[in-house]
């Protein structure tokens, strides 16, 4: 019962995650690209990113 409940909770979290985080951004991160969804706070502190994108690689809106 405990194990089943745990799996259900994790599956629900996964579904919420897929709904909240664009699959495109997840795929982009897996290939090494910075994205707004996975923007690191520390980048902003260091001043090396704006809106989750590295300096020099701003989105073009394509």
């Amino acid at each position: 019962m405990k194990n089943i409940l745990l799996i259900i909770v994790l599956v629900m979290l996964l579904v919420v995650g897929i709904m909240k985080e664009p699959i495109r951004d997840t795929a982009d991160l897996m290939t090494g690209a910075s994205t707004e969804t996975y923007a690191t706070q520390i980048d902003l502190i260091a001043g090396v990113s704006e809106g989750g994108y590295s300096q020099g690689s701003y989105p073009t809106g394509d």
Binding site: M1, K2, N3, L6, V9, L10, L13, L14, V16, G17, I18, K20, E21, I23, T26, L29, M30, G32, A33, S34, T37, Y38, A39, T40, Q41, I42, I45, A46, G47, V48, S54
Partner: protein, 203 residues
């Protein structure tokens, strides 16, 4: 969120399917993890450098002992050491990457609290990871090893604090994960106490 949970499911499945082989050839898996970590370290943004892979491994390590007896628990517990060592390798990469980043951009002494919590958690993790290796573990007395590994709870607490205090869009997700672990651990401890009381004869 998606990455961490996806990895938890994939790693869990791999352990359930290949537990015996992972244990048998664990040294090769450690070598592969080190090689992947080195490659990741040379890159800028990877799921290893960002800590997602490390935390996925550690969530499985944490939750394994709290599960109900069964095949999944047996398999996860059978590979707990391997999961912990490989998770540590990836976490060290994540930690080193951010430390060098902080030094590079001169904010090491002005970083937010979660940054220092991350460093402390890696330092706490190191003796746990080293003593998870069978070669080292065999040289230690059982009681001493168990005593040292009580530090795991400190490590888990630090990890969750580290990710929660980043206070990004995934904060609630990390709080839920921490809550799930805390509830399951609590239930496990209560169950153990009840069982001990049943075994002890009434005075």
């Amino acid at each position: 969120m998606t990455i961490i949970l996806g990895l938890i499911f994939i790693l869990g499945l791999l352990v359930v399917l290949f537990q015996k082989w992972i244990r048998k050839w664990n040294i090769y898996f450690y070598g592969i993890a080190v090689a992947i970590s080195i490659i990741s370290f040379t890159q800028e943004t990877t799921i290893i450098n960002m800590g997602y892979v490390g935390i996925s491994f550690f969530f499985l390590v944490m939750i394994a002992s709290t599960m109900e007896q069964g095949t999944i628990k047996k398999k996860l517990m059978g590979n707990r050491a391997e999961l912990a060592v490989i998770g540590s390798i990836f976490s060290i990469t994540h930690g080193l990457k951010y430390i060098l980043f902080a030094l590079d951009y001169s904010f090491f002494w002005e970083a937010p609290l979660y940054f220092y919590l991350g460093i402390i958690s890696v330092l706490v993790m190191l003796p746990l990871a080293i003593t998870s290796l069978m070669i080292i573990r065999k040289k230690m007395k059982g009681k001493a090893w168990k005593k040292l590994h009580k530090l795991s709870y400190v490590f888990y607490g630090l990890i969750f604090l580290h990710v929660i205090l980043i206070a990004n869009d995934r904060m609630l997700f990390y709080i839920v994960l921490a809550g799930v672990y805390a509830v399951y651990k609590g239930l496990t401890l209560i169950t153990k106490k009840v069982e001990v009381k049943k075994v002890k004869p009434a005075v």
